[in-house]
Amino acid sequence: MSAAAELIRGVSLVKRFGGIVANDTVEFSVVEGDLVGLIGPNGSGKSTLINMLTGHLPPDGGEVVVRGHEMRGQAAHLYAAMGVARTFQLTQLFGRMTVLENLLVPGLTRPGSTWRSVVQQARSTLDFLKLTHLEQLHAKNLSGGQQKLLELGRCMMLEPAILFLDEPFAGVHPHLRDQLITRIQELHEAGRTFVVVDHDMESILRLSKRLVVMARGRKIADGPPADVREDQAVLAAYAGS
Amino acid sequence: MLVQGRRHVGSKLAALVGGLVLVSTQFVGAPANAADPIKIGWVGPLSPPGGYAEGVLMKQAAELAADEINAKGGVLGRPIQVIFQDTRGQPEEGTAAAERLISQEHVVAITGEFHSSVFLAEMEVAHNAGIPIIAVDVWALKITAKGYPEVFRVAPNQALIAGKYGEWIAAAGFKNVAFLYEKNDGGQSARDVMLPILDKHGVKYDVVGADPSATEFTAQIERFKSHSPAYDFFMAAYSLAGAYPMMNQSHTLGFAPTAKTGIANSGGPAVDPTFWKNVGEGGKYVVTEVVGLPKNAWNDTTKAFVAAFKKKYNHSPSPQAIENYDAMLLLADAIGRAKSTDGKALIAALEKTDIVLGRGRYTFSTGHTPDWAYHQFMDAPVALIQYDKVNQDAEDAPIIWPRDIADVKYLYLKPGQ
């Protein structure tokens, strides 16, 4: 482990659905400043892993440690309070609330936040995402790509230490996808840590500094993208699927 | 832009104010005109959750009475108009209905109601306004016991009805009674009056309450059947639709009426128009009360009413209907004698009532002993009948109690005898 502080660690995480083992003793940790790509074929357990790491799914075995705190039995909103933000595979916005309100919600959950400062912060976030002109629109009326951007903005409003992005590029127009990648890169350069899950190998490879590959509920590779690409197990997993 | 916006607002405001003024004229009552019809208010349940089945019959009878009065030229040279108000069996709707009748419609008197709890709310309004109100089919003792001068009751009350059952059960020699009552005002007050009388006569009993919406009694009746020593009488106090499945199940399960166990229901359904259609064979030998004159004591008014009602509505009137019919005629009589529609004068005239109508000779007690006697029609006819044939009309069934008007020798006809 490098000098950088460990932000989140999953220790031998296990999750079963009925008879299916969705995650089988998965070890996963992210240090500050990292930009991790998480890939794997459909049903390999990526989303399950993310759901456990962000508190949305209680693990059947193992535990999640966020910044040194053991999180067993804690509700999802406490993960958020600890600086763990996430987006969802299918965008989950507050559809009949305005774009601005969507950003106010996470901002106002932070202790000590004032309405005035949060509105200010939300407006600058909208500026950053280039969504300012849509401020008063209901979130459900945005296009798919704009919704992904807004969801990213909602994460930013938590001023998180780490962001989990679950398939941020799925179904996004190429033009907006480039914009999304740019935003992520800018944020990363500003010091944010990311875990990005996607099928879109090209984008992932463009983005990530470290690549984690999952297959059949297990982690089969973890390392710099260039190394992982050559890994036999990975090739086999993709060929087999 | 701004100016345009303002002008827009102006026209809207004007419309708003105009609307408000228009609406507000609704809210302030106007005095009645002497040439107008005399308005009489009617309150009662016409829709669920109230006992709308009885309410409709009462309403029909009141309509019939008004038609007849008007056909004879009305009262004081003015026609009678009945204003009907549905109270849905809810006290707050009763208050609203009574308020509306009194302060909007300017009725001179009110009749009707089937639910004691609702009548208690209505009579407060009438009491405050000094408008006479005649309780038609509400049995709670509290109604007349309150001693409001405006409140009169043509119905017998629970002391007069349930009391008769208690005395009869003891006299007929029943020793062990299963008492099933519906958890509403009628059932509860029947229980409260009847049980002390059974106690007094040393009759043993077990009491079971039921939710008024219940229709499945099999388990309960089996439980009755398994009781040791066996019950020799099944007394039910049911006024709503649950009575029919209850009697059906009691019959088909072989509990009552049988040679071992008799059955009675107090509350009305056993004399309603669709009784036989619903219970069939199970209705034979059922004992129930008739809160009207026995057929052998029918006078011309009763006969004319029954005939007219059947002709107009194509089904038999219930006792509640006759009560409501009489209540209307009583009011017309009182208005005629008072030569006024003033509340005080009407109350005074009602107190001096002495007239023979569909349920016999009406007078209202002015004494307070017992407390429920005040303004109660003390001689309100109550007879217990027992059907001895299937599809028998209530008025053709033999009267078994009280003994002075009974037209059969036996106190109780045991099935199979």
Partner: protein, 325 residues
């Protein structure tokens, strides 16, 4: 002129207070009952409209509040307002408890659960008649000994205004924002740091408290309480009122209560036809104007006096400040 609608509302309220004694006793009663429903509709809208918790147990809390206050006053002779406060407090606790128990339920499950709860409450009140007098009706001490309805009018008015102000503060604060976020997407709300469980419980507790307030006032006004106040029929009328008005805003919910109660009275002469008529209106509202019939009117009203350009963007009521600060 910004905020013209507030001045208009204040003026109407002032007029209502000043000219209240000109109302006939009947319309005063209608107004009082409308305000009673207004408190219920707005608090139910807080629960069902804002937080998305479609509870059918709202009237059960009104009945619990009513009976609690009535019985405490009867047994211990405490002043009526103290009894009402006790009823409200009890229902806040009970409401919170129900909210806690049904944390994992959504949509129809929650509706069925609360339906079960309200029926059980009704059955208990009807069955334990040695305490509650059952369906015969519990005699409740009235708030005032006078026969005039005017003092009740003022009390109902004050209760409605205070309730609306309190609830208004809540829905315009961050709490209101969180409740709406929970309604839209619980998972996303929790991912945004909203303590979903806490706010769901809170919504139930607060709404139940207001229901109890309305219920206890009702008892001490009418003077008689029956278990049917907590029954499905009352609940259905409440749903009709709130949905027709617009369940996602407090003023439209209250407006719905006023309009429906007023129409129910105007149409009283039609007896049995009244309720099916409102059934149809409810269906049509849901089908074709889901936000409620009064919502567009209310949005127009709020814009009164604002230049149109501004008005167009102000269609959404964006919270301006946080009163909780």
């Amino acid at each position: 002129m910004r905020g013209l609608h507030i001045y208009i509302l204040l003026a109407v309220a002032a007029l209502a207070l000043v000219f209240a004694d000109r109302l006939s006793s009947y319309w005063m009663h209608v107004a009082i009952i409308a305000m009673f429903y207004g408190i219920l509709a707005s608090s139910w809208s807080l629960l069902a409209g804002y937080a998305g918790l479609f509870s059918l147990g709202h009237m059960a809390f009104a009945s619990i509040g009513g009976y609690t206050s009535a019985l405490l006053v009867q047994w211990y002779g405490i002043p009526i307002p103290v009894g009402m406060v006790a009823g409200v407090a009890l229902c806040c606790v009970l409401g919170g408890l129900i909210g806690w128990v049904c944390l994992r339920m959504t949509g129809p499950y929650l509706a069925i659960f609360t339906l079960g709860f309200s029926e059980i409450v009704r059955i208990i009140f009807a069955t334990e008649d040695d305490i509650t007098a059952g369906m015969a009706g519990l005699h409740v001490e009235r708030l005032f000994s006078t026969t005039s309805r005017l003092p009740y009018f003022y009390v109902a008015f004050a209760l409605l205004v205070v309730s609306l102000l309190l609830m208004g503060v809540i829905v315009r604060s961050r709490w209101g924002l969180f409740l709406r976020a929970i309604r839209e997407d619980e998972q996303a709300a929790s991912a945004s740091g909203v303590a979903v469980a806490r706010f769901r419980i809170l919504a139930f507790a607060i709404a139940s408290g207001f229901a109890a307030l309305a219920g206890s006032f009702y008892g001490h006004y009418i003077g008689i309480l029956t278990p049917s106040i907590g029954g499905l029929d009352f609940m259905a009328v409440l749903v009709v009122m709130t949905v027709i008005g617009g369940m996602e805003r407090l003023p439209t919910a209250v407006g719905g209560a006023f309009v429906v109660e007023f129409l129910l009275e105007v149409l009283r002469g039609y007896g049995q036809w009244r309720l099916p008529l409102f059934g149809i209106i409810l269906l049509l509202t849901m089908r074709f104007a889901r936000n409620g019939l009064l919502t567009p009117l209310w949005l127009r009203f709020v814009q009164l006096g604002e230049p149109r350009a501004v008005a167009a963007t102000a269609l959404r009521d964006v919270p301006q400040k946080d009163p909780a600060q």
